[in-house]
Symmetry: C2
Subunit: 190 residues, 2 copies
């Protein structure tokens, strides 16, 4: 939690009252590999800040195939944003890929900080804006790059992630099958 506070303070002025409030609505937790933090169909109350480890959020289609929306690694936030914003039950599952430390925040209370401590707003906004930018870039990449190029880019963006993920986690993020990813890997080695 200290690290997160430090991170926040490096971009905005945070009063000790606001810091206090953040402490009061958060909870440090450790999840073991395979734990499900958010389950499809259930209510979503929390959002998680990853201090260590690796998680992913994914949806499951009618055929049971999984599609990864996001990998949550150190210093990322992860939750089912769609559910929270629309006040619906989860359409995503958030799963722990290796033992991870997270800070759990009640999503509503975290939003509440903006009324209580408006000073926090620029931090929150910057986070959202960065998220928009990364999603837009991902869409553009999906539109213009081949599977192999998207894989290269993925490795740049998540250099150390392969040790925590299964092949099919990455494939389902790139929008290809694990078999295709396996073939792409073979090609790279040559």
């Amino acid at each position: 939690m200290e690290e997160l506070i430090k991170k926040i303070k490096s971009s905005i002025q945070l009063s000790s009252e606001a810091e206090q409030y953040l402490q009061s609505i958060s909870l440090e937790k450790t999840f073991s590999k395979g734990s499900i933090l958010i389950r499809e169909g259930q209510n979503v109350n929390n959002i998680y800040f990853v201090t260590d480890g690796c998680l992913r959020s994914y949806c499951t289609d009618k055929k049971g195939k999984e599609h990864t929306l996001l990998f949550g690694i150190k210093n990322w936030w992860i939750s089912d944003y769609i559910a929270i914003h629309n006040n619906e039950s989860a359409t995503l599952t958030v799963e722990c890929l290796k033992e991870s430390n997270v800070i759990q925040f009640n999503a509503k209370k975290l939003n509440g900080i903006l009324e209580l401590f408006p000073e926090y707003e620029p931090f929150q906004r910057n986070l959202l804006e960065r998220h928009v930018v990364s999603l837009q870039k991902r869409i553009l990449n999906q539109l213009q790059l081949t599977a192999s190029e998207r894989y290269d880019l993925f490795l740049e963006q998540y250099p150390d992630i392969e040790q925590y993920t299964r092949n099919y986690h990455i494939a389902s993020y790139l929008g290809i099958t694990q078999e295709s990813l396996s073939r792409i890997r073979v090609e790279k080695v040559k």
Copy 2:
């Protein structure tokens, strides 16, 4: 502009001073079909609220192929968000597909409203959050749906857009060629 103000007031309390400020940083404009509002490589200072018409933002890859990021129709905002957030020059082009009325805002000054009139913040945040949700959904759709299914969904989301767009605009949004879209259309008729 009145319509936009009304829209804002329907979701938040807006003081007349804040309203005044919005007026002062905005400019109603009409663009004719084919106009370029933002050009790749140039500085991006403005963001546009569409009151009528149809625009699109797209990028161009090394082969000269265009990829549509967004269609801007009535009540949407359009700009090169990536450039604004990263303070870079435009990687996108924003083009007018039919004669359109927009309200042009200076992007920096529009952000400035948050410090001057914090009451505006929930409106801004809601906009950003909705944007995140729609981008996330688009990514998930791209991962799990066929081109034909994506086209169906597109028609649901933009029911009247086909009268303003060229076939290849839509194809480049869906991530397929115009020839493929043409074939998909033929299949639908059957």
